[in-house]
Each structure stands twice: as structure tokens, then as C-alpha cells.
Amino acid sequence: MKEVPITELAKVIRSKNSGPYELTLDIIFKDQEGYRLAMQSNIINEDTIANLYKINKEQIINIVPFPQALAIKATIVRTRSSGALGETDVYGAQQHAPLLKLKVPYYEK
């Protein structure tokens, strides 16, 4: 089995608020093949998100593939509502970085 960095397969990896209480993480792949490898390896799962963000699985709202956009989306509960005391990122736009380290395993054909 081999591994390919997710940054080689993805065109967009981003985070953003989806409303003041949620943070949503989008991974959009460059092509059908990258999307297929990611889906087949099931790399974006509850364990991955919980480990990367040091959160409980209960804080994960959903993980949804959107094949039309070659995308996988994960949405988690915000640590605090946007702008509340202790806030570090009002727009939630810089919470994507842990995803950049993911590697997608695959079997050579």
C-alpha cells in the first residue's frame, strides 16, 4: 500500500463558519480519481476529524460527500459561538490547517 499527500489530490481545503455555532471543513478534489481514492480509503471519517481537532465524536455534526463538486464536507460544533469571549477566529477561516497533513492510502494497480 502507498500513500499520497491530500494536498496533491485536493484543489481546495478550507474552513469557514456555517452560522455562528458551526465550523465547516471542505475538501474539494482536483479530479474524479482523487475524489475516488479519498472516498475508497474513507480517509475523512469521524475518527480522523476527532483526532485532528482533538474533539469528541459528539461534536461532529456530519460528514457528507458531495460528488457533484468532487467534495467531502465535515461540519463540527464550534468551540464557542463566533465572536464569544476567548474567540480566536471570528470567520473560522483558518481552522483548515490540520487537514493539510492527511495522507490518502491506496493500493497500486
Binding site: Y53, L70, K73, T79, S82
Partner: protein
Amino acid sequence: MDNYRVLSPTAILGYGFPKESFYEGLKRDPDIIAVDAGSTDPGPYYLGAGVSFTDGNAVKRDLEIIIGGALEHQIPVLIGTAGGCGANSHLQWNLNIIKHLAKEKNWNFKIAVISSELDKDYLLQQLEKGKIVPLHPAPELTPSDILTSTNIVAQMGVEPLIKALNDGAQVVLAGRCYDPAVFAADAIRKGYDPGLAIHMGKILECGAIAAEPGSGSDSALGTLVNDGFIVEPLNPKRRCTVTSVAAHTLYEKTNPLELPGPGGVLSLAETQFHKHSDTAVKVSGSKFIPTDKYYVKLEGAKKVGYRTISIAGCRDPIMISQIDNIINEVRKTVADNFSSQGYEYNLQFHVYGKNGVMGPLEPTPECGHELGIIIDAVAQNQDIANTICSFARSTMLHFGYPGRIATAGNLAFPYSPSDFKAGEVYEFSLYHLLEVEDQLKLFPVKILEV
């Protein structure tokens, strides 16, 4: 049915756009011009304080071109979420800008002003009746949340906007709107499919962000056709691709397959994206599924205090290696020093170079060779916030940590004065759903002549 065209000049009124793009849009003979003016993205301050996050001069610049073009071509303009958040003060602020413009330009037209701010007594009654439900993961609502909020607005759907157009408004200035509503209202009024009209609105509300390269400060055109809609940028530097448009559909949303809004859910499970031309994408299959009960989303913010901050840097590796302990000790010293005063305050240390951006979500909280530290004090009044920030700053500056060699001071301040009063601080207090029977009662439409 004939093709129906919507011109979206920019992602947020006041974000600007090249005139050439807008005029190119006008050449395509649009049925309406619609623009979204707001968002909860900039955080709770703007809703709570009742001020705009966009600048008045920038909003005026955009409106001069938009309304000027609309008057010349005799097409309606719809502005959603006026003033950034849609409370009465935001609406009035935006209306004043339009009145000034009309006076300067000698314009005369009918304007519909739609209020979206809700009365607290009404909301307390609705809470009592069980008509308000939390939108997960927002907490349960209490009467105190309603009473302590400075501004509470509800997101209107298309119905009040349709009434304004039926009343013959040239410009519709709406309070808090479901973002796609101003783009979809007239098309739905004219009998176009709501699923397609709303999905098109969802893409157009961000201007040319769904293009490549994307931009929130540029124009886009949407065209409803028989079996779908077409989106395209109006600047030859950009093009819409299947990926750029499909990817935009999931932007800022919890679930790309189901986008809830006033009165129903936009279902994208069967949506298809196709290349239409080198710059345009055709979308089909999006469906609007009405819910049994009509819900609108409520947004509110309350004041939680006043803020003072101090910004500093640290370059001493001995101090950096102990930063967590030092912060804890500084906290204790501050608490101890004012224990008899009974001050209520919140003291935070943002440590850039360690976990300043991600806080508790940071998987690798390792320190860099230098740290940026923001001391952030929030208290019930500005004086106490100043006191706490000042004391935390001086304590940290001279703190004698174990192994300290640099005895002149622990912090590098880029500014004098080192402390800044940041003023009022707000938090979101409402993010709930309200069941309504009559949208027109909730969002009254007032027609004025300017």
C-alpha cells in the same frame, strides 16, 4: 417561459465592483438587479451595536452605479440585509445613504422599506407558546436571552419582497433576508420554479465568487431557463466552471444536499452541473421542498462588557519554554490583587506562535522562536477592563519566572500607549427558529417616495 435574468453586481453592497462588469450585465437586459448587503460572518458586534461592517462611502459608491443603472433601464433593485445585519438602525442608515444620493442626483422613485427587527414582548409570547426552537447546536432559548439582546432580527423569505414589488417599488430595501431571497423573489412572483430560483440566488449572492478566479468584488449574471439556470461572470478575466460553481454550492453550509431556508428546504441531491460554454455553467435538478410549518431564523446579540487589549511579543527562549505556567501565575496574581474589589472580568491570553489561531482545536501547540501575545480583558465597564488589562500587562512584563536571566522586562511592546480600549463587546444570543403564520405581519412593507 421566457428566460429570466438576474444581475448580481457584488457579493456584499460596499465591496465594490468594476463598472465595466456591471455595464456588461446591463447590456444583457436583466429583469432585476439584486444585491446582498449583509452577513453574520463578521461576528456579533455589528448586530449587537446596530452598526454596519461596510463603510458608508463604499456603500454610496456602489449604490450610485446600481440605482443609476436601474433607473435608466427601468428595472427594480432589491437590497437584502440592509446595513449588514438588518436591524432598524441598519435599515435607517442605508435609507439615509439612498436619500442623500437621490437628493444629489435629482432622482425620484418609490422605495419599499421592509423591517425585520422583532419586538421583545412578541418574542417572549412566542417562546411561551413553544413557537421558538433552537437551531442545533445553539443552546435552548431563555426569556433572559431575549430581554438582554440589543437587537433581534428574523430572516425573511420571498413573500414580503414580492409584496414590495407588487406595490410598485423601484428599489426594495429589506432588513434581514435569507441571502438568496432578493435574487429569487421576483422570479418566483412571475412563476419560475422556486428550487431553481433559490439555488441560483444562493450562487449569485456572492457576486463572482463562484467563478475562477473568484471575486466577491465583481459581478455575475444568472439566467433562469426552461429546465435549469445558467451562471456566468461578467468580467472577461473570469469564467465559471463546473467545479467552481458546484464547489460554491457547499460554501458555508452544514450539509450541501439540504439547505434549509424560510418555509422549506432546498434539496440538491439531484442537482447536476454541466458546462454550458467556456465561461458559463448550467445547473438543473435543484428542488424546493416546503416544510409543513413555516419557520424563519432568528438572530440576536447581547452586550457582554467592554474590552481593553495589550499587544506584545516575547523573544526569550527561557520564558517561551514556560509560557503556560507564566500565564497561569499572571492570572492568579491579577485575581489575588483585586479579590476584595469583586470585579467581574474575563482575562484571555492569545499566544500567537503557539495556538493563537486555533486555540483548543490546535493539534500541535508547539512554540516558535518568538511569541506574539495579546492580553485581552473584558469587564462590566471600560474602567475595570482597563484596570485588569493594565495590571495583567505590568505583572507579565516584570514577572520573575524560574531561571529568568533577562531582568529588564519580559515583553516587547510595539506601541506606546501599550493598552487599547476596544469598547463594547457582544455575543450572539439568538440563533433559533420561529414558527410564523403570516410573514407579512412579521416583516411590514412601507412604501416611501424619495
